[in-house]
Amino acid sequence: MKSLADRPVSPVVGLEVAHESATLHVTGAALYTDDLPARNRSVLHAWPVQAPHTHARVVSLDGTPALRVPGVVRVLTAADVPGLNDSGTKGDEPLFPAEVMFHGQAVCWVLGETLESARLGAGAVQVGYEPLPSLLTLTEAIEAGSFQGHQPTVSRGDADAALGSAAHRFAGEIEFGGQEHFYLETQASLAYVDEGGQVFVQCSTQHPSETQEIVAQVLGLRSHEVTVQCLRMGGGFGGKEMQPHGFAAIAALGAVLTGRPVRLRLNRSQDITLTGKRHPFHARWEAGFDEDGRLQALKAVLTSDGGWSLDLSEPVLARALCHVDNAYWIPNVRIDGRIARTHKTSQTAFRGFGGPQGMLVIEDLLGRCAPRLGLDPAELRRRNFYRPGQATPYGQPVRHAERLHTIWRQLFERADVEHRREQIAAFNAAHPHTRRALAATPVKFGISFNLTAFNQAGALVHVYKDGSVLVNHGGTEMGQGLHTKMRQVAATALGVPLDVIRLAPTRTDKVPNTSATAASSGADLNGGAVKDACEQISARLAEVAARRLNIHPDDVRFANGTVTGIGFHDRDIAFADLVHDAYFQRVPLWAAGYYRTEGLHWDGARMQGEPFKYFSYGAAVSEVEVDGFSGAYRLLRTDIIHDVGDSLSPLIDRGQIEGGFVQGTGWLTLEDLRWDVSAGPHRGRLATQSASTYKLPSFSEMPEEFNVHLFEQATESGVVYGSKAVGEPPLMLAFSVREALRQAVAAFGPGGREVQLASPATPEAVFWAVQDVRANATASPADGAAARPETGSAPSRASTPGH
């Protein structure tokens, strides 16, 4: 058995190759789910009837007026459901609700010959509502005691006692916004009953197996009667982990009832108003530091806004609690978590999965406390880094903690931080209306699903008689380059050139019972499974080759499409010839591969264990410029060093780091979800439900200078070809931008005071923070350290501002 991490000679992994579908992307030839209806005849189109209430009972529903609209074929209601009327796995998400739980929830769906007829039909459906009182904000839910799901606690040591004896003690509060996924491709499904009588669903889903299960659940079928295929996604980011299931089920239900293909594609407004988002959070904390600024204790209560149903809120909260520590050793900890139930979309997975929210709490805390401790924020952070031998609050040893220190040191050198600080000081002295600042933040992110059972994967590899190879695996392609990496893994494991390997679309009838492509784990898990399948085949081929070369099978080597023996320079066999021989010797040329992550244990009730295979490390330093007239800002430069182990595919990994960073910057600075929280007639309506009102980062938000470096000599033992996961961790490097903004704001005043910054830090939020700093600069020092006491940072009892 070969080690999982070892690479053979001339591996294909590690080569810089373009995305497996790049030429299809650029020529418009890559097919996505909603490109398929144009290739099918007699497709019906689905349109939702969206409730104009935030919370209401459905007292009547009459679809007959819709049937009089030309082109309308069918109105789908709860009465049509042969199985279970629920689109989730927890029994709390009725597909056709009797009680509207958020503004715009779909109460029924209309099928039409055209999209236009379905839309007009939906407008004709008569629905009677009895409005009910609603809870929208976290504050409202907390006051009303409206919570759902588990209320876990992570603790270690005695936080109260340590707070009591700490040299410096601060308290604070923060509430911060969620994030819309805004995958460019909205949710899409195309369902039909195929020639074999099974329900076939083409779906843009990160979790085909669960989509299959929910479709079967709604239709009252068994899983082997439903097949789900995902060609590729136009972005997922977690938004297609749970959210596609219900829409796929609607399409499948329509297909079963009408006998015709049914297309369900949400337009942008429907997608934003119907699907869940990143969880907003509220946090209240107390922290104690020693004389040197070392964290002694942290107590915090984190409340997430789960929306109307649980969805993935429990595991998201668990990951948030497991990441409040980020990169910092905190000897005494007590973090309580709870999930508010509000009348909003059901918040769900989003790149980072609670990790970013947990980390925001500690990074905000350190950014606020540093001036009150009289310390440079970067120094405060560094001083608190984990050291080898220390463990997280949930009891997992922090392996490779020394990498944090190394990365930090290398980053400061590469980014020329000391020199640039001088330049920034000079710039600020010369410009009355503008301030620049730079800030650095670290990332430590745990890799593996918190739920241990999900850490398994399968693959199916076929070698055909001509030596060509077709690879199926359980992971889905959403742009992250998983298929590219899997091709490289298969080519490496079989010792063949990349063009020998073809990746087939993900289907539940090829690899069953798959986990979601999520938690950054796609390459780790499926790579392990693909490698296993390939090695089963190459072991059999080695026997065939050994006979032909008259050597021991262990001494056979596969590389670059040739098979030879150790030390052979004059004799080799072409891979395709060997495959041909093997077929006639009746050797099986296909294999099912399987992988389970070793060494995981997690006790979700006690919130203790070792849930992660390893940690990913990274750090970023960002420089911003803030305009004092408007609060608008530019991101001048970002430098990143990130640990991806030994990269499977450097171009892909760099893309994940850069893209994750910019997406995180969007969450923290620009992307601003606004619900109508007034008592008016549109209470509960999402005001930002289009691209013109919900702004994503564009070219103008990219760092003007952007340097990404992969941490070197980073082999991760126990992971496929020594690599590390990369999907989520880089998103959290964006805290460097938020902290740089905080420091630039502070530079409008004399410094030494806490600066509070709303999240997202929009230009307006930054402007008000600047105004606070300016007001404090002219106020007397006796006004106290808290910039805006009304948002909750009352100076704590034992606080001693500044050294």
Partner: protein, 504 residues
């Protein structure tokens, strides 16, 4: 009725299936050309971008990137369109790999991840690749500041690659995956089109003339009148008619608010609405000229507009959107109105009965309402000359580019420099986003007129300006922030006039 035909990727296609409200994007996709995607359906994301051959002076055409999700397919009767599929071919069972240089760069440099936005990027990038003025010889990569921006501390309005590639060509394309760096690198790595490149050669010939189009289907009509007279005639007979030029507003209403006007009259190709005339005492700008055409045609003649253009939506939108449309929709947050108010512009309203000129300050009567009568067409915009010596345009928004204003403020000021100091001899300030219509900041103007241009006066005027209009709280900004931004705009204007070289 003539058969409607559109040439796509060199192939003439009948357009029978398209109704008056079928968007170009939906028609292309129904034709099996599914490369162009719908990402937002409102011209914000550019996933639907395609190339259209547009006129570019006598005997020349220009590949112009536009959003396909907004205009009606029928608006392209007789026109030539190129999609990502038409630029190059991926290797496959029946095809050799044949990538366009733009596609090659994007593919090799990691410019696509999920690939969904990519065909739109490809088209927007190809238009810039073929832009005749692009200085591909390379005068060096440069980050330029706007003409009136003083000092390096202010946001760069333009960024240009070493190959002359203007990054703003991509300001209307969103990518959620890459973080943009590899796309920028791909853009800056592009060379010069080869002389044999058929699309390059195509630019040396005239664009197809617009064809009069009349299609009725499903109770609605799409008509492209052949002449101004036909337009007036149809307007007279059907006052419910919606005039459409670039469709960047109407397209959004069709897609997002499901408006289905019974009669759409396409006016964007009428020559009478496409003049650009710089006279001794005024500049006349045809109402149906695309903003990009105006920007090119004025070539810096109106510095205030030069500051406006880069801030006005995106290149994809500016390639279609018109000044006439931006004014006629009467939105209080349209970006051109504040600038044109400051420039003391007037609009020319034309009808069967003749023409009348209305000062822009008297044009708007209420929220999305104006003095334009049902039978009238906004034919042109007139800007009086000479221009005031100093001008500025400040747009406050969440995102630096391609966002909708929370507040916009435009200044046009004439100073009188005397031995005892500088005085304000004339001032016009236009505001957007603070009332139901774009307005003039009249009280602020009064507070400035004839006064010495001192910090004290500016601070006082800023306080007056903060109270202009009746700003509201909405998703973009709080009322308090809007008022503060009015005040800050005046302070910034003062600072800019003090700090550096003379402002436009």
């Amino acid at each position: 009725m003539d058969d409607v035909q559109i040439t796509v990727n060199g192939q003439v296609r009948g357009c029978d299936g398209a109704g008056p409200h079928t968007r170009l994007l939906d028609w292309l996709r129904a034709e099996g050309l599914t490369g162009a995607k719908e990402g937002c359906a409102e011209g914000e994301c550019g996933a639907c971008a395609v190339l259209v051959a547009r006129p570019d002076g006598p005997g020349r055409s220009r590949w112009t990137a536009v959003n396909a999700c907004l205009p009606a397919a029928l608006a392209f009767d007789g026109q030539e369109i190129i999609t990502a599929e038409g630029l190059g071919t991926a290797p496959g069972p029946c095809a050799e790999e044949d990538l366009h240089p733009v596609q090659r760069q994007l593919a090799d440099r990691g410019g696509s991840q999920c690939g969904y936005c990519t065909p739109g990027f490809v088209c927007a990038m190809a238009a810039e690749y073929y832009r005749p003025e692009r200085d591909a010889a390379g005068s060096g990569r440069r980050v330029e500041t706007g003409p009136a921006v003083v000092g390096e501390e202010h946001a760069a309005d333009r960024e240009t690659g070493p190959n002359g590639f203007d990054l703003h060509a991509l300001s209307g394309n969103l990518c959620r995956c890459t973080g943009y760096r590899p796309i920028r690198d791909a853009a800056y790595a592009l060379g010069v089109p080869e002389g044999t490149d058929p699309l390059f050669r195509r630019q040396g010939q005239s664009a197809p003339a617009a064809r009069p189009t009349r299609v009725a289907a499903g109770g609605a009509q799409f008509v492209r009148p052949a002449t101004l007279e036909e337009l007036f005639d149809r307007l007279e007979h059907d006052p419910r008619a919606r005039l459409v030029a670039g469709a960047t507003d109407l397209g959004v209403e069709v897609n997002l608010r499901y408006e289905r006007p019974p009669l759409t009259l396409a006016i964007d190709r009428l020559e009478a609405l496409r003049v650009l005339d710089v006279g001794p005492d005024r500049i006349e700008i045809g109402a149906a000229l695309a903003l990009t055409e105006i920007e090119r045609g004025l070539a810096g003649r109106v510095p205030l507009l030069d500051r406006l253009f880069p801030q006005f939506a995106s290149r994809l939108i500016r390639n279609a959107a018109t000044l006439g449309g931006n004014l006629a929709t009467g939105s209080p947050i349209g970006d051109s109105a504040p600038a044109l108010l400051a420039l003391n512009a007037a609009v020319v309203l034309a009808s069967a009965g003749g023409e009348r000129e209305v000062a822009l300050a008297e044009f708007f009567t209420g929220y999305r309402q104006s003095v334009r009568e049902p039978g009238e067409v906004l034919r042109a915009i007139r800007i009086p000359l000479p221009l005031a010596g100093h001008s500025a345009f400040y747009k406050i928004a969440k995102r630096r580019f391609d966002d909708i204003s929370s507040v916009a403020a435009a200044f046009a000021v004439k100073f009188d420099d005397r031995p005892d100091g500088r005085r304000v001899s004339a001032v016009r300030i236009g505001l957007g986003g603070v009332a139901a219509t774009p307005i003039r900041a009249l009280r602020t103007e009064q507070a400035l007129a004839g006064r010495p241009w001192s910090e004290e006066v500016a601070v006082d005027a800023a306080a007056v300006m903060a109270a202009e209009g009746t700003p509201i709280d909405d998703l973009r900004a709080s009322a308090r922030y809007r008022s503060a931004m009015l005040e800050q705009s005046m302070l910034r204007f003062y600072a800019e006039t003090q700090a550096g070289p003379e402002v436009g």
